[in-house]
């Protein structure tokens, strides 16, 4: 239990910013640039945590609570998700519902913090974030339901456990669709192209990034770190779906998991480089399509 907790926290805190670095490096490579160093996100975080803050006079404690919840909720949620073959340190019967609602908590607090600034841009970002989340949540649920039905377990630890490895023999098509859906969810929830582009210069077109315009210094650092953890969490679910194997020893498993996550990061970088950003009103269409695909995965499994 403690060993698992150690590995989990080590991977979570250590690996998550690296993923952002790998994505940035891949994109730079595609653009023919050298790109920032792989460890740049760590430098950014360190710099942000040393900085002072500027806080709008409109805001109240709601604004300050956003980043706090934004880092805490993904941290706690990650403790329920197995990282590859490294089992989750926490888990109980039915924890998948708890984990999804934890992510909901972080979304709620970030959106409210954005509205607390009174800025039209941030309100717009908050509206988009919660609207798209309405479409993402059913997808995540359908993917998890496929796993629940396949493994008969109600905890995330059991869903991505050895029972899934045998499930691949009987229900490969459903699981392939599920992996695709999880990939889309990972891209949406972490504001990646083709759904969102945090690097664009126009705030009007952003989704997630425009919500946190007014945060600065340590608060912004917490938001960035929380976002990196969320990427790791959803990525870990995707990887867990694709690779339900164990090598037997914890360090080796951790290495395999880290490698798989890095490959996923490269994959995300490639997707971001080769696909154009979707028009905003197409995003819900694509998300509904993804929900329907995950629903179809369920039909395939049930027959």
């Amino acid at each position: 239990m403690l060993i698992r907790l150690f590995w989990h926290l080590a991977l979570l805190l250590g690996l998550s910013p690296l993923l952002l670095g790998v994505i940035a490096k891949t994109k730079a490579g595609f653009a023919g640039r050298k790109g920032p160093p792989l460890l740049q996100p760590y430098y950014d975080l360190a710099r942000l945590f040393r900085k002072d803050m500027v806080i709008s006079r409109t805001t109240t404690w709601l604004f300050r609570a956003g980043p706090v919840v934004g880092i805490t909720a993904p941290l706690v949620a990650c403790l329920f998700v197995p990282f590859g073959a490294i089992g989750a340190p926490l888990g109980f019967d039915g924890d998948l519902i708890f984990v999804i609602y934890l992510l909901g908590l972080s979304r709620f607090c970030t959106a409210v913090a954005a509205l607390d600034t009174g800025s039209a841009f941030e309100g717009m970002g908050a509206a988009r974030e919660v609207t798209f989340a309405c479409l993402v949540e059913p997808t995540v649920f359908f993917v998890l339901i496929v796993l629940v039905r396949l493994t008969g377990s109600f905890s995330l630890g059991g869903l991505f456990g050895p029972a899934l490895a045998t499930g691949w023999h009987t229900a490969a098509p459903s699981l392939m669709l599920a992996i695709f859906c999880m990939l889309v969810v990972t891209l949406v929830e972490n504001c990646r192209i083709p759904f969102d582009d945090p690097t664009t210069h126009l705030e009007l077109t952003m989704i997630h990034e425009v919500m946190v315009l007014d945060h600065s210094g340590p608060d912004f650092g917490m938001i960035l770190y929380g976002a990196a953890m969320k990427l790791l969490l959803l990525g870990a679910m995707t990887v867990g779906l694709a690779l339900p194997v164990s090598l037997g020893s914890a360090p080796l498993d951790a290495a395999v998991f880290a490698l798989a996550m890095l490959i996923l990061a490269v994959l995300i970088g490639v997707v971001e480089s080769v696909i154009a950003r979707l028009p905003l009103l197409k995003v819900p269409q694509l998300l509904i399509g993804t929900s329907l695909l995950s629903f179809f995965a369920l039909i395939l499994l049930l027959r």
């Binding site: 098509p173 269409q285 509904i288 329907l292 695909l293 179809f296 039909i299 395939l300 049930l302 027959r303």
Partner: protein, 212 residues
């Protein structure tokens, strides 16, 4: 072999979703061509290879995968349209209806008294779902071209049903199916051109002006 065939049929269903949700005509035609080509391979996987299946697969590939898309592409070049704008029912509702129809197809075929050999295979639900997708396409779209495309998908659905009967079905019937299809596209091509010339638009609703 059966597994591979099932995988292809699964892809066919996914392509249905794609066609229902996409507004670009070019992409739709390509997808329909891909769907036809995939379907053409299925008889090879499901039945022992003989001259009969080879002919069926080859002719289906040529017609569904090459000739028809080429004709349709030529048609959209002539009438210069790229997108189906403003369908009768929006893309998202069509997509949802398509999924519901697919779910219905699966549930319905679960209740059919099938022979044991066909129980696990996707042929029946896939055929029903593709028929449904074709119908939806013809119901919801305005342009004559997308209607022709819907008809093509509908025919693909019938072809999938035919797969179950390749052993029993005489060559004539199969040829009939293919010919039927070809004729349909020709007719549609002529109709498309005519409508375009008469009304300088491709909306099928204009046909109702001919009612009197």
């Amino acid at each position: 072999m059966g597994n591979l065939a099932n995988l292809l049929l699964l892809l066919v269903i996914l392509l249905n979703f794609f066609i229902l949700g996409s507004s670009r005509l070019g992409a739709c035609i390509q997808t329909a061509a891909l769907q036809g080509a995939l379907l053409a391979c299925v008889p090879l996987l499901m039945n022992p290879i003989s001259g009969h299946t080879l002919f069926l697969a080859g002719s289906a590939l040529a017609l569904k995968g090459v000739v028809m898309p080429w004709l349709l592409f030529r048609a959209i070049r002539q009438v210069r349209i790229r997108r189906e704008i403003d369908p009768m029912i929006g893309y998202v509702p069509t997509l949802i209806l398509g999924t519901v129809a697919t779910a219905g197809a699966f549930i319905f075929s679960d209740h059919l008294p099938l022979v044991a050999a066909h129980r696990g295979s996707l042929v029946i639900p896939c055929g029903l779902a593709t028929l449904g997708a074709g119908f939806l396409m013809m119901i919801t779209r305005r342009k004559a071209l997308t209607q022709a495309l819907g008809y093509l998908i509908f025919e693909n659905g019938i072809f999938i049903f035919g797969l179950l009967l390749t052993e029993a079905m005489p060559l004539m019937v199969e040829a009939g199916v293919l010919l039927d299809l070809l004729v349909a596209v020709f007719v549609m091509g002529i109709v498309v051109n005519q409508i375009n010339r008469e009304f300088s638009s491709l909306n099928v609703e204009n046909l109702s002006l001919l009612r009197e």
